[in-house]
Symmetry: C2
Amino acid sequence: MHELVFIQDLATVMLVAGLTTVLFQRLRQPVVLGYIIAGLLIGPHTLPVIFIHEEQTIRTLSELGMILLLFALGLEFSLKKLRAVGGAALVAAFAEIVLMVWIGYEIGRFFAWSAMDSLFLGAMLSISSTTIIMKALEDLGLKRERFAQLMFGILIVEDLLAIVLMALLTGIASTGGVEAADAFAAVGRLGLFMAVSLVVGLLLVPRVVDYIARVSRNDVLLVAVLGICFGFCLLVTELGYSVALGAFMIGAIVAESESVARVERIIMPVRDMFSAIFFVAIGMLIDPALLMEYAWPIFIVTIAVVVGKVVTCSFGSFVAGNDGRTSLRVGMGLAQIGEFSFVIASLGLTLKVTSNFLYPVAVAVSALTTFLTPYLIRGSDPLAGFLSRHLPGRVTGVANAYTDWMGNLGLSGQGAIVMKMIRRLVWHVIINMMLVIAVFIIVAFAYRRGFLHLDLLAGQPTVKRSLAWSLAALLSLPMIVAAYRKAGALGMLLAELGIPERVGGARNFAIRSMLARIIPVMVMLILGLLVAALASTILPPREVALVIVAIGIGLTWLLWRVLVQVHARLQAALRDTLDKPGHAPEE
Amino acid sequence: MHELVFIQDLATVMLVAGLTTVLFQRLRQPVVLGYIIAGLLIGPHTLPVIFIHEEQTIRTLSELGMILLLFALGLEFSLKKLRAVGGAALVAAFAEIVLMVWIGYEIGRFFAWSAMDSLFLGAMLSISSTTIIMKALEDLGLKRERFAQLMFGILIVEDLLAIVLMALLTGIASTGGVEAADAFAAVGRLGLFMAVSLVVGLLLVPRVVDYIARVSRNDVLLVAVLGICFGFCLLVTELGYSVALGAFMIGAIVAESESVARVERIIMPVRDMFSAIFFVAIGMLIDPALLMEYAWPIFIVTIAVVVGKVVTCSFGSFVAGNDGRTSLRVGMGLAQIGEFSFVIASLGLTLKVTSNFLYPVAVAVSALTTFLTPYLIRGSDPLAGFLSRHLPGRVTGVANAYTDWMGNLGLSGQGAIVMKMIRRLVWHVIINMMLVIAVFIIVAFAYRRGFLHLDLLAGQPTVKRSLAWSLAALLSLPMIVAAYRKAGALGMLLAELGIPERVGGARNFAIRSMLARIIPVMVMLILGLLVAALASTILPPREVALVIVAIGIGLTWLLWRVLVQVHARLQAALRDTLDKPGHAPEE
C-alpha cells in the first residue's frame, strides 16, 4: 500500500503540474510559474482537500530536484566561458550582489524582522534567475545580441558568487554572528577546498566520464554520472558545505569532459522531472493567508528588486565600461529572482535560522518579478532612448567620456603580453602553494582519524608525527619545486621590468639575479609558515623538522629533474582537460 | 538529515551500479546482470556492512522503475506491429507460455513447494526477456535477420499474454482456487476493461499528447506524459488490476500519438535511472546463503528454462509454419527469463501468496540464462546444420513437407479478400457489443455509487432505475445501430457465400434476405441478454423495460441517419489514430 500512496502523490503532482504548465506555456508565461501555481493548488493550505498524503516523500524528491538543477547549471557553466567573460561581468555582478544584499537587509530591518531573516532576505534578492532570463530572451529572439552575451557573463559570475554567499551564510548561521576574521577564514577554507577539488576533480573526473562514455550505452553513462554527482555531494556535505555547492561544482567539473553534450542530453529529462517536483514543492509551501498577511512587504520587496536590480546592474555594467544603452538593457533584464533564491530560502529553513514566512514571501516576489521580466526586457530599449533624449547634455557627455576612457584603458602591445605572463605566473605560484597546503591538511586529517595506520611502524607520537609530516612533504615535493621555479621565473620577469637596462649599469645583472632569488625564497618562507600553522597536528619537534627539511632539500637537489617532470606531466594533464577542441593551447 | 540519508543511499546505489555495469559492459555481458550484482553487493545479506539505511525508500523508487520499464515497453509495443506479425507469433507464443507454465508448475510440485509457489514459478518461466534479447542481437549484429523479426513478434505477443497471465494470477491468488468459471469471468472482465480503455484511450490520449507536444517544451511534455502514465496506473489499480498492466497499456496507447519518438527520447533517461534502481533492488533481495541452500532447484530450473524454451519455442514456430532451421534459431534465442519474471515475482510477494525463496531463485535463474543467451544464439546455426545432417532422412522429409504444406495453406485470390472482409465485420460487431455493455456497466456503477444524482429527479427506486437504464440505452444507441448494421452486412455476405447462385433458384433472393435478417436479430438478442445480466442493478421492471425498448426503437427509426453519422465520426477518429503516415487506410 505504501508504494501506491507514493504513486498517487506523484500522479497528482505530475497531472496538476502538467495541466498548469501547458496552460502557462499557452499564455507565453514562464513554465516555472505554472509549477509553483500547481504546488499552490495541491498544497495543504489552499483547498480544503488533501491531495498529497506523504509530503515527506515529495520533499525528499524535491531535494533531489535541487541537486539536479544545480548540477545541470554547473554542466552549462564551463570554466572556459568564465575565462572569456573576463572582468566586466565580475565587476557588474559583484556590485549588484553587494548592493542587493544591503538593500534586502535594510528592508528586513525596516519591517523589524530578525537580523538573520533580513540577511537571508538580502541574499535571496541578490541572485537573478538564469533559467527565467534564458527563456525570456529565447521567446523574444534576443539571445544573440551583445547585451545578452554580457548578461550571460554576469549570470555565470552570479552563480559562482551565490555559491560563495551560501557558504558564508552557512558559516554565519552556525557561528551565530558576523565576525570579520571568521568570515575571512571561512572564505579562505572554502577557496582552498574549491581550488583543490577543482584541480583533483579536473584531473580525474572528465577522464573517467569520457572513458565510461566511450565504452557504455546511455543508461550506464547516466547511472555512472548520477553516482559521481551524488557521491561528490555527499563528500561536500561531510566537509560541512551545502549540497548545492557540491552539485554545482561537480557539474562544472563534468562539463570539462569531451562527452559533455551527451551527458547533458541524457541528464536533462531526469532534471526536468525532479526540478518540476522541486518547484511544485515550493508552491506547496505557500499559504495564501500568509501572503495576504505579508502583502505589504511583498509589494515593497518586489519594487526593491525591480528598481534595485535595474539600478545596481546598470551601474555595475556601466562602471565596467559599457555604454549607457547596453548597461540599461542588462540591468532591466536581470531584474528578477528565481531558483537560487529558493535554494537560499531552503538553506535558511534547513539551518533553522529563518522564520517560516520568508520562503512564501520569496516565492511571491519571484512570481511577480518573473511575470514582469519579458515586459522589462522589451521596454528597456525605448527607455534608453527616452533617457538619452531627456537627460541633461552634461550628464550624457560625462558618461560617454567615461565609456570611451574605459575602452582605451586596456593595455596593448608588448605591455599586455608581459602583464598576461605575470598574471599567469602568479596564478601558478598560488595554485601550487594551495595544493601543497592541501596535501598537508589532508595528511593531518588522515593522521588524526588514524587512517594512516602508523601504529604498525612506530609507537611514540613524536615518531608517528614525524613520519606523517615526512609523507606530506614527500607527496608535495613536485608542487613545492614547481612553486619555487615559477616564483623564480616571476622574480626574473619582475626584475627585468623593474630595472631597465640604463639603470644599474654593470651591477645590473647582479641586482636582477638578487631580485630573482628573493621572490622564490619569500614564497618558500610564506609556504613554510602556512604549512606549520595549518597542519600543526602533525608538526614534529623543531629539531626533527629541520632534519626532515634538510633531507627534503637534499632529495630535491638529487631528484630535481624527476620532480619537474612529474609536475609537468600533471600540469599537462590538467591543461588537456581544459583545452579541448576549439581552444588554442596556452604557453 | 532525512534528505541526506536518502541522498546517501541513492549515491551508493548509483556509484556501485555504475562501477559494476561499466565492468559488465566492458566484458560484453548484459548490463542488467551488472545492476543485479550491484544490488547483491550492497544488499543486507552479503557483506557485513550496512550500505543502505532506508531500504523502504529505495523499494518505493524501484516500484516507480517497474512502472516506467513497462511504460517504455508499451511505448515500443505498437498495435500496428502486432497486426503485422499475425498468427505465426501468436501460435508460437501461446504454445510456449502454456507449456512453460506447466513445466514450471511440475518442477515446483516435484520439489514439494506449495501449489501457489509452483504456479508462480511456472508463470515466471513462461515469459522471455525483450531487453536481454534486444541487447544480445544488437551485439551479435543479427537484428535484421528473418528469425530476429519472428522473435520480436513472439516477444510482443508474449508481453501481451504476460499481462493477461498476471491478471489471471491476481484473480487466482485472491480467490484462492482455480475455478474454470471464475477464470473465464476474470479473462472476460479483463478483456472488456482492456477493450474499453483501449478504445476510449485511443480516442483521447494520443490527441492530448500531440497537442501538448505541439505547444510545449520537453520538460512540460515529460511532466504531462508522466502525469498521464501515473494517473492511468492509479485508475487501473483502483479497479483491482496490477499497476504493471496499467503502465503497459497506457504506454501502448501513448505509442499511437504522432510525437511518440519525442516522448520516447525524453522518457528513456528517466526510465534508465529508475529501472537501474529496480534491478539493484532486485539484487538486494538476494541472500547468498539462500542461493546455496536452493542451488539444486536453481540448477534444475535453469536446465528446464533452457531446454524447455528451446523445445517449446522451436516447436511453436515450426507448427506456425516456419522451416526447421529458423524455428531452432528462434527457440534458442528465447531461452531466458528476465524483467517480466521479476514483475511476476514481486506480484506474488505483494499479494503475499508466494514464499520468500521464490524471488531469489527467479533472479538466479534469470542471471544464469541471461549469461547463456549470446552463446545459445551463436550456437543455433551450427546446431541446426548438425541436426539436418544427422537426423534420419524420414524425419527431415516429413518436416519439410509440413512446412511446404503450411506455406501453401494461406487462402489466395478472391477467397482471401472475402475472408478478410468477414473477419473485419465480426470484429466490428464484437467491439460495438463490448462498448454497449461497457456503457451499461459504467452507468450501473455510477448509479450504485450515487454519482448520477437522480434523487433530484425522482424518489422511487423503480423510476430512478428506469431513468438510469434509459440513459445507458440512449448513450449506447450509436453503437447498437452500428452493431446491427455490421451484423446485417455480415449476414448478407455469409448468405452470398453459403448459397451459390445455382442452388435455390427463384427463392434464392428470399432465402438470402432471410439469412441477412436472422444474424443481426440474433446479435441484438445476445446483446440484450448480456446487458440484462451484467447491468441487473439498473434493470427496470419488465413492462417499463419493454416501453423503453419500444421508445428506443422508435427513436432509432427517427434518428437512424444521425446515429449512423455519430458512429462513423467516432470510428473515423479512432482510425485516424491508428493509421498514421506509412499506413494505408483501411476499408
